[in-house]
Symmetry: C2
Subunit: 346 residues, 2 copies
DNA sequence: TTGTACGCGTTATCAT
DNA sequence: ATGATAACGCGTACAA
């Protein structure tokens, strides 16, 4: 079964290639009889149009690209479904692409743009400082959603749009919540990355809470995840918490900058023979499903992923149809009080 | 900034298109001076080769496709990394594609095959009965890994290869483990799907355990997940378990056919004021990371995803290089005894 | 070492 | 309604 092309189909059906093309693309100006004949040939030959060749010629592919940085992150999963259906509702097709840890998402985006005939692109994660410049070469509107959005400067930037929560502010809120429970020695588990990474932004929020209370931040209570494995994974939360416990620091609460870290932290605390929250309170950030089913339930900041996803798509279409210029939309997070935090007893 | 092509680059650099092409593809037969000049132009123009046009011409793209059915399933996440690095080790590129719930994975595979110049393809999930036939049109070797593999008949099928555990056998093992703990009234939460779906296969294993003990299966203890949401989700495990508890059936153990279902089940039991495992033992299937960090730790069947992933790639390359014909490789699962199961006290 | 010209499979344009 | 043919952007013989 060697490769069969539109020419073959045309020859076998006894018609011209243009006619076959018309049938494939559902044009109306073709007789029912001819259409059926061609369709029959297509069916029995198992002919599949070559997408590369189509994209080379086509001008009007109503297509939106979604670029995910790190497929490993289950955080994005719930967003995809919503984005997919929203795009579908506009009668556009969705091209989902994944960028590995080593790939530069800007390169992948550029490639995607002219490989498919994209009208717009959504970034989930990614958005490193360095790729920022390359993004200028994008000819289509881009929207960064959630994590990736934080990494960009928001101040009057007209190159792309962002939709997210205010990581720094929300991190301050949950830290303040811990403080209001009476906690003073609050450790934080975060990521040592760029100045505008989520990890850093949430750390800033943590520091803000102390600044507002006019209390010094104890740098020894700032713990960074291990570098040699997935940064925001359960396992990393477990390992890092073990380091915290082994350090002998007298802490009563841990703020993990993601829920997955918090899940690992809670297990590490339990394995050390301590209780959550009686001995140590734990809170996360993100509002992932798992936190609502963990034991104990996780106290966290919930990101309104539904709204964020919907707004992301809406904004993108506004941009595509020039109804709007680039904007930076910020949604409020919601403090979810679970069972993993309680009043400080000491 | 309109679209810039290889012709533009050639014109600006004052060379021919073939020279530019040579530079792009890293051919050696081009003077260092010319190369630099071209590279400079490429850089300042932000030129990106059109992949569609390249694939149209290229014949030797060393590319492997990985098709994931349902990106929502975190079960596959750990496999991707391994598969990616294994493929990389062979100096092949990886093209990752996702098929939505509505898409036929066979269509996507066919499209992927001639869009990129794939040498082989790996299916993660998917593999429905109906798409089986379309797969015949694939001109490149295909390997189904884990979940999707089960759906195919293994008996002397020479159309594709499979790598997986024996779902039916392993399900029997863990059911027997529960029986050996003294449990008699064992509920099962599974999926009502096709004859060879994982849900059905694992249900068969459950029934086998009873058959071997010459005990009748109580059909009233077979519970099916809700159809109107993700089948193997935490939430579905929660809801279905609520139904089990509300049914008033006198059960002492629940076998959930996936770990995610089990996580939801444990939470539902706790919310009902009961304890795991003292009141009800719970076990899962898959061996996902979350089960090792849940509270209590989950008893489950662990699939050797490392080995499965590695073997999947190895087998695919054997097929590509005609060192092997299609095979069906089965790995043993491992019973992981957690804290979510204990002796039946009644 | 470098440039010219053709073909990859498809769609769009222009005839008919 | 249908067919012939010129692009689309690139790789690669082949010629120079």
């Amino acid at each position: 079964m060697s490769k069969i092309t539109i020419v073959d189909v045309a020859r076998i059906s006894g018609v011209g290639v243009s006619t076959v093309s018309r049938v494939i693309n559902g044009h109306v100006d073709v007789s029912a009889k001819t259409r059926e004949k061609v369709l029959a040939v297509i069916n029995e030959t198992g002919y599949v149009p070559n997408d590369s060749a189509r994209n080379l010629k086509r001008t009007d592919a109503k297509c939106i690209g979604v670029l995910i940085k790190g497929i490993t992150n289950p955080f994005f999963s719930p967003m995809i479904d919503i984005i997919e259906s929203e795009i579908d509702r506009q009668n556009y097709a969705l091209v989902l692409r994944h960028a590995g840890p080593e790939e530069d998402e800007a390169d992948v985006a550029l490639e995607l743009e002219n490989e498919k005939r994209l009208r717009g692109i959504i970034f989930l994660g990614g958005g490193s400082e360095q790729s920022k410049e390359k993004l200028r070469d994008l000819k289509i509107p881009a929207v960064f959603s959630t994590i990736g959005a934080t990494i960009l400067d928001r101040d009057g930037n007209a190159e792309y749009s962002t939709v997210s929560v205010d990581d720094r502010l929300e991190a301050r809120h949950i830290t303040q919540y811990l403080m209001n429970l009476g906690h003073k020695n609050i450790a934080i588990i975060t990521e040592a990355m760029g100045r505008r990474s989520v990890g850093h932004l949430r750390l800033e929020g943590y520091k803000d809470a102390f600044a507002i209370k006019r209390q010094p931040v104890n740098d020894e209570l700032v713990f960074y995840v291990e570098q040699n494995m997935e940064h925001f994974s359960i396992e990393n939360g477990y390992r890092t918490t073990q380091r915290i416990l082994a350090s002998g620091k007298d802490i009563t609460a841990i703020f993990c900058v993601t829920d997955l870290l918090a899940i690992g932290a809670m297990r590490a605390i339990a394995d050390a023979g301590l209780r959550v929250p009686e001995d140590i309170s734990v809170c996360g950030f993100d509002g992932m499903e798992i936190g609502r089913y963990s034991n104990p339930r996780l106290t966290t900041i919930s990101q309104p992923l539904d709204q964020i996803s919907r707004e992301t798509v809406k904004l993108l279409f506004d941009l595509i149809e020039s109804r709007s210029s680039h904007r930076h939309i910020v949604f409020p997070g919601e403090l979810i009080i679970g069972e993993s935090t309680m009043k400080c007893l000491t």
